[in-house]
């Protein structure tokens, strides 16, 4: 059907109708739009018959179409208020949780602290890095490997390790880097690459390009003591001129001690800078060793000039902060504590043999699973955000904060998931409404008293006893058959 030429709807009126149609619930949108376009066409024809000029007709058309917003809004409100066309609240529930999860994930990855904490542990696991120390040394921050020993392994240990790097920690008290004694890690540029010190590519390029030593400083130390020094400046460090190249995050996970700065030197200059200081060795286990099962903690012996020495290889993931393990531990604790906060059973459903109930039974469990899964994921990212992104009080404190926040969050979210599930209709999964107190507390011998909830779709009634008795110990669902539907159809 092509409308007559003079009855064409003005673009502004079309735009108003299009805009307002977005408010109409999708199932009714097409018909609603058809009706308004049709009515506008007849209205314009009527105005033409009345002798309205084009300007008047345009003004009236716009006024007419503005009313479409009221109509669309009414339909929208009616959709949410009418029990018959109520949006599936189970879907809304999941959609809300998904939105919350997306928001928390976004924030957790947006803040550098939490992003680093989430990505670092997985990187170390992928890299198969181990920290090598002499056997029998219990303190992990005690240097035990001499540089000469490391050089020998470099030549002969390639079947065990594909890459190795040596670092040591020295105390420096130099005016150029601040008023206090600083803990300086000295390592080769390959070391920074191996453990991924989170240096920017610009810093690493600079380090490779220049032969002179390069200094990178921890973020908080730079902020406190070196705010005026900028990249490219030369500063004095350990008695030599070094190039300040940039800033790295405060915590280098898994490494011994906490360094204020790292002096990255060319591998050939390590002896000059470190002298006879003992240090630490970080290595990447070779593929052959990994295939042989050397993935956990293991050891090896080295014989030199008839002297035998044993060394332990500890995966860096064992020493680095492990948010996932902390979270799993919190989950375990929360599951232990959960029965103390809410009963675990979901209630009695005597009508489970009802065909309708039987058909939709699996939906209840899928919904519960999705709800718990999303809640757990939200708590994980929220705890990471809080512990490493917002507070970020050092690795140990952050782990404790993560443990505490995860435990509290998991306990309450699991409790909520179970309580929410118990208050839903098992057929349509909508929240039960219209709570009504039934019975008297003084007549609990031959009658029951408690709260009765109702499914607004007419699927049944839920009876929740106030006091658990031997014959009414938990909530009970009463299925209503199809003959009740008319009563709930809302006229």
């Amino acid at each position: 059907m092509k409308p007559e030429r003079d009855m064409r709807i003005p673009l502004s009126a079309m735009a108003l109708l299009k805009l307002s149609s977005a408010l109409v619930p999708p199932p009714r949108r097409w018909e609603w739009s058809q009706e308004w376009h049709s009515e506008l066409w007849y209205a314009r024809r009527e105005w033409a018959h009345q002798g309205c000029c084009e300007g008047q007709a345009w003004r009236r058309s716009v006024q007419f179409c503005l009313g479409a917003f009221s109509d669309a809004l009414w339909l929208r409100r009616d959709q949410f208020s009418s029990p018959v066309t109520l949006f599936d609240s189970a879907q809304r529930n999941d959609a809300s949780l998904l939105c919350l999860l997306a928001m928390v994930v976004f924030l957790a990855f947006a803040l550098p602290g939490s992003r680093r904490a989430m990505l670092t542990s997985s990187r170390h696991q992928q890299a198969n890095l181990v920290s090598i120390s002499r056997s029998g040394v219990t303190k992990s921050d005690t240097p035990t490997i001499a540089l000469a020993e490391y050089r020998r392994w470099e030549k002969r240990g390639r079947n065990l390790f594909s890459e190795m790097a040596f670092y040591t920690v020295v105390e420096a008290n130099e005016a150029a880097i601040g008023p206090k004694s600083a803990s300086i890690g000295v390592a080769s540029t390959e070391f920074a690459k191996l453990v991924d010190l989170q240096t920017s590519s610009d810093v690493m390029d600079r380090a490779r390009a220049v032969v002179e030593p390069v200094l990178v400083v921890a973020e908080s130390y730079r902020t406190t003591y070196m705010p005026e020094v900028s990249a490219g400046d030369e500063v004095t460090m350990l008695g030599r001129r070094v190039l300040f190249a940039g800033v790295i995050p405060d915590h280098a996970p898994g490494l011994a001690g906490q360094q204020d700065a790292w002096l990255l030197v060319d591998d050939t200059q390590l002896e000059q800078v470190t002298g006879s200081n003992a240090g630490f060795v970080v290595a990447q286990v070779s593929a052959k060793q990994r295939a042989a099962g050397y993935t956990g903690r293991w050891g090896f012996s080295s014989v030199e000039n008839g002297d035998s020495a044993s060394f332990d290889c500890v995966p860096l993931r064992n020493t680095a902060a492990r948010p996932s393990a902390t979270f799993l531990f919190a989950l375990f604790l929360a599951l232990l504590a959960l029965p103390a906060t809410t009963p675990l059973p979901l209630g009695e459903y005597p009508a489970a043999s009802h065909p309708l109930f039987h058909r939709v039974r699996w939906r209840r469990w899928v919904f519960l699973g999705v709800k718990i899964g999303l809640s757990v994921a939200i708590v994980y990212f929220a705890s990471m955000l809080l512990a490493f992104g917002i507070i970020n009080a050092g690795s140990e404190s952050s782990e404790l904060i993560q443990l505490g926040s995860s435990f509290v969050g998991l306990l309450f979210s699991l409790r909520w998931a179970l309580r929410d599930q118990r208050l839903r209709c098992p057929v349509c999964l909508r929240l039960l409404r219209s709570p009504a107190r039934v019975g008297y507390a003084s007549r609990s011998f031959l009658a029951w008293h408690g709260t009765e909830f109702m499914c607004e779709q007419g699927h049944g009634l839920l009876h929740v006893p106030e006091v658990a008795t031997s014959w009414f110990s938990t909530q009970r669902w009463l299925m209503l058959d199809a003959s009740w539907v008319e009563l709930f159809s809302g006229g």
């Binding site: 049709s38 007849y42 006024q63 009313g67």
Partner: protein
């Protein structure tokens, strides 16, 4: 006895829901809704013609008609596409009163006697 029990349970359920399933004949309409109902009854069966005869704006008339339709007082129907195509015009949705709507209108006329003044429309047979 069974019927009495069922009736009492039904009343209890209706009370809990806070509404009764269908509009009763004593349903009280607002003056605007009654005016629209009367307009449709006398033959102004399209939304725009109701607007014209009542002087109400589109933002009042159409939502009110949706509400009346939801409450089962009027029902809508699209005219045949072929009939509209033959006259090179878009098909139109028209409304008519249901039995419940007629009963409600009778009650509303007692409440708003001036409703009877609304004249019949030639559109009644459109």
């Amino acid at each position: 006895m069974t019927y009495v029990a069922i009736y009492s349970i039904a009343c209890q359920v209706a009370f809990y829901i806070g509404r009764i399933p269908r509009m009763s004949s004593e349903t009280k309409l607002s003056h605007t809704a009654a005016l629209i109902l009367q307009s449709i009854h006398v033959g102004y069966i399209y939304g725009f013609s109701v607007m014209e005869v009542t002087g109400l704006p589109s933002g009042t008339v159409y939502p009110a008609m949706r509400r009346l339709e939801r409450d089962g007082l009027i029902q809508s129907q699209w005219e045949q596409q072929a009939a509209a195509d033959a006259e090179k015009r878009p098909p139109r949705k028209y409304y008519k009163l249901t039995r419940s709507g007629k009963t409600t209108l009778e009650a509303s006329r007692k409440r708003y006697p001036l409703l009877n003044k609304l004249a019949a429309s030639p559109e009644v047979n459109a």
